[in-house]
Assembly symmetry: C2
Homo-oligomer: 552 residues x 2
């Protein structure tokens, strides 16, 4: 009997690691995620590669740094010929399915040049990170003065209507809307209404719907191995949670915000610019942060409850013993830390995300319930999943490392000092050219770039056109002191700069052929008569001593 | 009357700048190239981006650094979706033709994934840098014990046979073969025979054939503007020149080789490895270098003579006043300098190439006959040609700068100190993973990388996994002293390392959309209802204050 090798790849959107009880939250209880951690390996230092949704996800899906896949900001496509998770797992024989968000965009110009119709099967495959089966729903079906944000009407609209939520846009009018104390309908985009319940029953929320559909898909999978990417839209805003989640954590003692007045004194110009963003100004006000955070926590709790249902369904289908489960997030959320809202910069609340990998096979029994403190990152997932599924990672593309050795080896808890780091640093990037302040600071589409290199102690942030930022997480674990312009750290900065040069020189650009193709070529040219710089035929092996034939 | 805008882009292969009289050679007289320089602008400091044929040409054709186009070594394809010179000029309305070498390879895996048949029109377009019209001939139709090097039989074979050179491979048996003093046929690949004439009349050599065919093509161009890429295979080896070129410079005083004993003392490990290559060992022997160089010079002279014919034909067709002419080379040749043969490393004999641009329009009258000492490079050609042809460079791809302002502005001779540099540095790269010594030095397919940054004074070479190399061309214009490990230069090295980080962060990776697309998107999301981090609807402009409608 051939054992199936399934993969359930669960992504949450904008989830801070510390919003989970297994990552230290004392308020939010996430027993189903926690149980996954006790069955698998919990990574305490997983860093993302891009600091917003689209670029981070493109790194998860391609296994490549943002600098390599090029989708450096939301709304920018990865290249037409970029391989994705679905390509890589498809090559291992897995059927790949999607339920939820990918944030991938079609490369229309690239497809046009290559004669590929965007709505063709190939076009849809390319446009959606290779997930051509399943159901895509990126959420954010907002209504605006200039039209809505989403594209085609999602199946969720029709679902809601069938449940009795009749509206032209039931997402905006029910699932992410509230009725206030005066009976006025309120847009869930505005944080003030976060204490009110969303206008859907919790069994009809986006989270519940995503879970229901994922359960349906799992129940209908055939005999082949599969990968299902369940990609929740929440706890990303709108911060609209259905009852009882909207009030579950209201009035409780929230974790203290991490900020201090010194951070606002002579800040780095880019940090300053981000602090001036609307969302930062909102979340910098404690009262507003404290109003919004309980809703966010409620949305996390809602997902955990739904994951309980999802895992139960996997059990019922008899697939639990065949299914590796990954849970991660595309990035975190500042929630007022460092006087910031949202994401985009590089402090740990944004760049360090939860990563739990549960390998059901006996090979992983030794690592169950352990915490791995190695520096790992989003781009490690593709090679991990390919190796686990029995394939050979296509290293000419992949820039991460397989975590299978960690899953299959004993990984002592909290033993960062005892284990050998599998990589010397992790790298994340931000392209802020879409921000209004970019042009005010004299930057353009091509040079609004920041690159973080974190070596486990120092977090060095190269800011093209500006001085760097630098945090020493050993001395300053709260990341409150920017040493980027401190003379005492010039040697440290030089060393980190050298590492960044090394990093960029080692990126995978020669993607058009494999390692084995390179090996096959070695030494071939001699045999093809390419004899470079030899003086005479006696200087080459006899077999290569070919002189022109005398014509007959 | 609409004026035609034609481009004649002439590339020589492995031509050292100093092999031309207009670049200072006192032995070789190249009057036709020199006259081009007096009619146009001669660039004294043009640097290539890749140090061997394939990668350098891919940079010429894509307008992008090797790190961006990824074809880091001969035989590796650029990506299927990489735009080329022909794409860029085609978008300007020019018909693009090729005569000669491109060294481009098809991205078979990429095309397969996208359902593109390599032999289809689109497949051939992609496989050949977009040059789907004209005639490709990469030369090097060698015979080997393991089969030949070239692919399909070139039209040149048939041409030679029609001229009476009957053979299964008339390239190997005539055009690049010699008959020695004993009447034995000799393979032109072996340098020893370079003093003998190639077995073709000079009117039937590869150079003459390439010229004839280019003249034919020009005479048959229609009324539309065109770009013809005339890409000579010579003076690249085999060093087989037809009479009288084989002996034209024999017995004369050759330029002195540039090397000294100190270079061999404690050399950088990679420099050491290159010195151990067969071709380096051969050319390090003065007698052998001095035997081969006259043949090389003869091949250069032969091309100059043929360019005289080509330019004359342009006159006869009445196209000279409509045709911008570019002449350059993909890289140079060490010819024993620094104890090295061939190319691949970064000394000026390899990385600094001739570049002459002759713009026939009156706008360029002020610059005719001038020498421009700015740092320019191969990737500047695409934006230059696009701008000259009246198009808008697609800056989301292009990493060079347009030279049109130099062509159209007064450019004082030898005035490097008086003019403002248009760029602070140039960058070139080498991927030496195909070399046998790579694995001996513990390097693999992905980390055998060297990157040169030259700022006009310092030539800094980052060697992934090794200490850097550093030359100070102000104090050491002959590049004989490697300061890469000299403690006195640690500050200089740090500054150059920072520039290299800046360079890599500024590369163009977000290629899937234009600058104008980025501008159009700015501020759009607000209007689509994406209102991030606002507290209440009063905080946004009235037009954006959209609350959910009450369902009717």
């Amino acid at each position: 009997m051939v054992t199936k090798k399934n993969i359930l790849f669960i992504m949450l959107d904008q989830l801070r690691a510390d919003a989970l009880s297994c990552y230290g939250n004392s308020l939010v209880d996430t027993p189903h995620i926690d149980r996954l951690a006790t069955r698998g390996v919990k990574f305490s230092r997983c860093y993302i590669q891009g600091t917003s949704c689209g670029n981070s996800r493109a790194s998860y899906y391609t296994g490549r740094h943002v600098r390599s896949h090029g989708a450096s900001w939301n709304g920018w496509a990865t290249r037409t010929d970029e391989l994705t998770l679905a390509d890589h797992l498809g090559a291992c024989g897995l059927n790949t399915y999607l339920m939820g968000k990918t944030h991938m965009k079609p490369d229309l110009a690239g497809m046009d040049r290559l004669g590929i119709e965007p709505q063709s099967e190939l076009g849809r495959f390319i446009s959606n990170a290779g997930f051509s089966q399943g159901e895509r729903d990126d959420g954010l079906h907002t209504v605006g003065s200039g039209g809505g944000y989403g594209g085609v009407e999602p199946a969720y609209f029709d679902y809601l209507r069938r449940q009795g939520y009749h509206a032209s846009n039931p997402w905006a009018q029910y699932a992410n809307a509230m009725e206030d104390e005066a009976g006025v309908l309120r847009n869930g985009m505005f944080l003030k209404h976060g204490h009110l319940p969303a206008r859907v029953d919790k069994i009809h929320s986006e989270t519940a719907y995503t879970t229901d559909r994922a359960i349906d898909m799992i129940s209908q999978m055939g005999a082949d191995s599969w990968c299902l990417h369940v990609s929740y839209i929440k706890p990303h805003w709108p911060l609209a949670a259905p009852a009882p989640y909207h009030q579950m954590y209201r009035g409780m003692d929230l974790p203290k915000v991490n900020k201090c007045a010194a951070e606002k004194q002579n800040p780095h110009p880019l940090y300053h610019a981000f602090m001036q963003q609307t969302h930062s100004k909102t979340y910098a006000q404690d009262s507003r942060r404290d109003h919004a955070l309980p809703t966010y926590y409620g949305l996390v709790k809602e997902i955990d409850d739904n994951l309980g249902r999802l895992f139960e369904s996997l059990d019922k289908c008899g697939e639990s013993d065949n299914t590796l489960i990954v849970l991660s997030s595309d990035h975190g959320d500042y929630f007022g830390d460092h006087w910031l809202g949202e994401k985009d910069l590089f402090h740990d609340p944004v760049t360090r995300v939860p990563l739990i990998v549960m390998d059901p096979t006996p090979a992983a029994d030794g690592s169950r319930g352990t915490t791995c403190d190695e520096l790992v990152c989003a781009i490690d997932l593709v090679p991990t999943l390919v190796e686990w599924a029995g394939g050979t990672p296509q290293w000419q593309w992949l820039e991460g490392q397989s975590l299978v050795p960690i899953l299959h080896g004993p990984s002592p808890k909290n033993a960062a000092t005892n284990t050998q780091l599998i990589r010397p640093y992790v790298v994340a990037e931000c392209d802020y050219s879409a921000m209004d302040f970019a042009s005010e600071l004299g930057r353009n589409s091509y040079n609004s770039r920041m690159t973080m290199l974190f070596d486990g102690r120092y977090k060095y942030i190269h800011c093209l056109g500006f001085s760097p930022m630098l945090y020493d997480l050993q001395e300053d674990p709260q990341e409150r002191v920017d040493l980027g312009r401190d003379q005492d750290y010039s040697v440290v900065r030089s060393q980190l700069t050298e590492q960044m040069v090394d990093w960029s020189a080692g990126l995978k650009n020669r993607v058009t052929g494999s390692e084995s193709m390179a090996e096959q070529r070695k030494g071939k040219s001699d045999q093809q008569g390419i004899l470079i710089g030899y003086w005479q035929s006696n200087d080459v092996p006899q077999a290569l001593q070919i002189e022109p034939e005398v014509p007959t």
